[in-house]
């Protein structure tokens, strides 16, 4: 039996922090009067950045700000899987397990997460620092396997680089997004295979 929606009831009412409130007002100002409903998605995103997930209190606050029935906000929030319906860790690790990443070793990435954090897909560490979730294809197949943590992609992962990445996050050390295998962007992994020579001389010889 599928349970998709955020359950009713929240512990306390939700309020935007002052700076987020300013951002929210800026978002609302983008839309003409009577069309505040358009701001539902950006406001939900803002709230998720502040609180980590969307509970009913967030929905009610956003509904009130956009003059929208709370039900319409719940519909939108439950439609998009990137709005989370349960609490997540400060570092929310989304592991792509679709075919490219799987063929390139996403199972190794999951094993590394399990060894390093002791949690499986859908888990949340006791200190509330990490949570792991499965993601559908995030469009970085050329750098598979990859994970998304926060807004950043971490690509070309192996068992070792995954553990190292998580270890640095645990220790609070800075990490660099992008390829963890040292490759620049999506360049060929073993170095360039074409256009390796100097540019050809002009036709007029």
């Amino acid at each position: 039996m599928s349970v998709t929606a955020t359950p009713p009831g929240s512990t306390q009412p939700f309020r935007f922090t002052p700076e987020n409130q300013a951002k929210a007002q800026a978002v609302l100002a983008r839309y003409p009067e009577g069309r505040e409903r358009s701001a539902v998605l950006p406001l939900l995103d803002l709230a998720q950045r502040q609180q980590g997930w969307i509970d009913r209190a967030v929905m009610e606050t956003v509904a009130e700000m956009t003059h929208t029935p709370p039900m319409r906000v719940l519909e939108a929030a439950s439609f998009y899987t990137m709005f989370r319906d349960r609490p997540v860790g400060r570092h929310h690790v989304e592991v792509c397990t679709n075919i490219s990443c799987w063929l390139r070793g996403s199972d190794e990435v999951l094993r590394a997460l399990r060894d390093e954090l002791g949690i499986d897909l859908g888990g949340l560490t006791e200190d509330g620092l990490f949570s792991v979730a499965e993601a559908e294809c995030l469009g970085a197949c050329v750098n598979a396997p990859m994970v998304q943590i926060g807004d950043d992609y971490y690509e070309d992962l192996t068992y070792e680089t995954t553990r190292a990445l998580i270890g640095r996050l645990k220790a609070g050390l800075p990490v660099s997004a992008g390829s963890q295998g040292g490759r620049q962007g999506s360049c060929p992994a073993g170095g360039p295979t074409t256009l390796t020579g100097a540019p050809a001389a002009s036709d007029k010889g």
Binding site: M1, S2, V3, T4, A5, P8, P69, P70, M71, R72, L74, E75, S78, F79
Partner: protein, 689 residues
């Protein structure tokens, strides 16, 4: 006017019409689930696929496809049929095979259309999905696994009922319909979800597992539990009313019905008076009709007419009122009143006590002033019309009294003090400008504003506002009285008000206490405090053992509205006929026959022996009652009595919206509604379950 051909038939329809509507206009029915004439177009069930040329070579959803010049539509081509078969196969993938235990079985759109487009086997080998039941309160029973996600219920709640509490949550395989909060569907029109749902996902909770549609006999009738007079169909099996469904009447209820009218019918089986009762030595004892009339005749033998009074209840039909009026004339008693709540309505000018604008006319109004009325509680269908008007935009609603009540559309509260009315009438209040600026302004006076000592002054004030703000113009009358009693307008038409020197309802009760009135005849009158009748001899006639029966000395068992052929006049002044669906229980009889027999027992043989004679007499007394189902505008004539209006705020006319009459008070379903929806917020009244 684009011209197109549908199945080879040339059609000429206005631009903006959809292909489905165009096909319907020439009698071609295209199967559909999500499309509903009164709801917005969703286009998500895909059952209405048709083949359209010119265009891409693929089927198109006809419900969402506007007609275009030169279009060639084929609704029954091999391509269209194949597409529908495919859609049906998808719909049935997750639909359970529980038709034999489903209440919708026999009147299910999916069942009917599966007969035409369904395959006899499924190619789906995986597990079907299951969806948790939702709690929508005591009226609606859910089986959400049967849902086909047509979203009609979501659109109904948002667009008609005005409570956007239902929604489709999740996506794809996980999509499901659910309320925002469990168990709370705060609409008094929620029963219509059952009619709107094309499958058995939302079914009638009170009717669950009691009957199959093919076992039921249908009787077309009129609802009397509020004064709207909605057209209903009474479904009966044997001697029982199994359910009530709305009938189409564009002028009154469109195709909706208020929950109270739909669900209160289980009150027809409870607390029934099925035999006459006579009080002997202080206790009521069952009796025969002859004994009961004998007791009355002997008790009233030497009582002069001037010491006999009658109080007429809220659901008394016009036939009974006619016979009663003649009997009271014969007795020579002026003490007769149909306004048991004390509303200051006069029987004179008809425009002064009906809903002149008409219910359909609300859709033309552009400014509304509500005076001491809560239409959501008093007449949910009229409130739904106001909401429909509001959705078109440009409607301003002001309210005096009963402020703070949620009416599903925005209302400007002008204050609880009735003196605001004086300001509006005098043109000094800003809302007076709103009304004056409006093309078609209207006001609605509730019974709460009239049923008070200064009610006549309030009525005169409302009339002054109507005249001052241009509400009564050629072709438009914006003065409206909203009734809560189905029999009130008919009784006023027949002049069931105190005669020369007669006492009104309050006067009759106090007269009983003082001894000035020796005998009082309560014809279905239960809504007053009847404890102070003193030593008076009380005859109660009615269908249920309620307040009136408790104090009666003789009880004459009458019929409820499903048990008699009767005429009722709704709040607009529309004369409509209710039809007998079942027989009254036990010894109970139709009410006009009881009054007729009582007249004979009292020595006044009225020349009214058949229903036809009674109706002829009724039309003779009030010619307006001879015009059935249609309305004639009532002439504008003086009514009301100018005076000072006290500063006390208006009291609500309906204190408990689910229990307003003996039938609803006896109904277990209505008691469940009070528990579920009112949470003690509205006062319980009388002898509720």
């Amino acid at each position: 006017m684009p011209k197109l051909t549908i199945d080879g038939i040339a059609v000429d329809v206005p631009a903006g019409t959809t292909v489905l509507q165009a096909a319907e206009s020439i009698g071609i029915e295209i199967p559909r689930f999500c499309y509903h004439e009164r709801l917005s177009i969703a286009g998500n069930c895909r059952m209405c696929l048709v083949e359209v040329k010119p265009g891409p070579p693929k089927p198109a959803a006809s419900c969402a496809l506007p007609v275009a010049e030169g279009m060639e539509v084929r609704t029954n081509s091999e391509m269209a049929r194949k597409a529908r078969r495919g859609v049906m196969e998808f719909l049935l993938i997750n639909h359970p095979l529980d038709c034999p235990i489903c209440d919708q079985g026999g009147e299910c759109d999916l069942q009917d259309q599966a007969l035409t487009f369904g395959a006899d086997r499924s190619r789906f080998q995986e597990s079907k999905r299951a969806v948790a039941e939702k709690n929508l309160g005591p009226l609606i029973r859910t089986a959400m696994t049967r849902c086909i996600q047509c979203t009609r219920c979501v659109r109904f709640c948002t667009e008609i009922a005005g409570v956007p509490d239902l929604g489709m949550v999740g996506r794809g395989e996980h999509a499901e319909i659910m309320p925002y909060l469990d168990g709370v569907l705060g609409s008094e029109l929620s029963g219509n979800l059952v009619d709107v749902c094309p499958v058995g996902a939302l079914t009638n909770g009170a009717y669950a597992y009691t009957a199959r549609p093919w076992e039921l006999a249908h009787t077309e009738s009129i609802d009397v539990l509020d004064a709207v007079g909605a057209a209903i169909r009474v479904d009966t099996r044997g001697a029982q009313v199994m359910r009530v469904l709305p009938r189409l009447n564009e002028a009154v209820n469109e195709e909706w019905l208020a929950d109270k009218s739909r669900y209160a019918i289980d009150g027809l089986k409870v607390q029934r008076l099925d035999t006459p009762w006579v009080r002997r030595d202080g206790t009521l004892k069952p009796a025969t009709w002859a004994e009961a009339f004998d007791v009355i005749a002997r008790r009233l033998a030497d009582v002069p007419g001037s010491r006999i009074a009658a109080l007429v209840g809220d659901q008394v039909d016009a036939e009974t009122a006619t016979v009663l009026k003649d009997l009271w004339t014969a007795l020579g008693s002026p003490h007769l009143d149909c306004r048991q709540d004390g509303a200051a309505l006069e029987a004179g000018a008809r425009a002064g006590y009906v809903f002149n604008t008409t219910i359909a006319g609300i859709e033309d109004a552009d400014a509304v002033l509500l005076i001491g009325t809560d239409p959501r509680a008093e007449a949910p269908l009229i409130n739904a019309r106001l909401f429909k008007r509001f959705r078109k935009g440009g409607l301003r609603v002001g309210r005096v009294g009963l402020s703070g009540r949620d009416l599903i559309y925005p209302v400007e509260d002008l204050g609880d003090d009735p003196s605001v009315l004086t300001a509006i009438a005098g043109g000094t209040h800003p809302f007076a400008e709103v009304l004056k600026a409006a093309q078609r302004p209207m006001l609605i006076v509730g019974q709460g504003a009239l049923a008070r000592p200064d009610g006549a002054a309030v009525l005169a004030l409302a009339r002054a506002i109507a005249e001052a703000t241009g509400m009564v113009i050629e072709g438009w009358n914006g003065f409206n009285v909203l009734h809560t009693a189905a029999g009130r307008v008919g009784a006023l038409d027949l002049g069931l008000v105190p005669g020369e020197g007669g006492r009104d309802a309050a006067g009759i009760v106090s007269g009983c206490a003082e001894g000035a009135i020796e005998a009082v005849y309560l014809v279905g009158a239960d809504e007053r405090d009847l404890s102070g009748l003193g030593q008076a001899f009380v005859i109660y006639q009615g269908s249920h053992g309620d307040a009136g029966a408790q104090v009666a000395d003789v009880i004459l068992p009458g019929a409820a509205w499903t048990e008699k052929d009767a005429t009722y006049v709704n709040t607009e002044g529309r004369v409509q006929r209710a039809t007998r669906a079942v027989l009254p229980p036990g010894e109970a009889r139709e009410d006009w026959k009881i009054v007729r027999a009582l007249a004979e027992a009292l020595g006044h043989r009225l020349p009214l022996d058949t229903l036809a004679q009674v109706r002829a007499r009724m039309v003779a007394l009030a010619p307006v009652l001879g015009r059935l189902d249609t309305l004639a505008p009532a002439g504008w004539a003086p009514f009301g009595r100018a005076g000072t209006v006290a500063a006390t705020p208006f009291a609500p006319a309906v204190t408990n919206r689910y229990m307003t009459c003996p039938i609803t008070r006896a109904s277990p379903t209505m008691a469940a509604c009070v528990r579920a929806f009112l949470n003690g917020n509205e006062k319980r009244t009388g002898t509720d379950g």
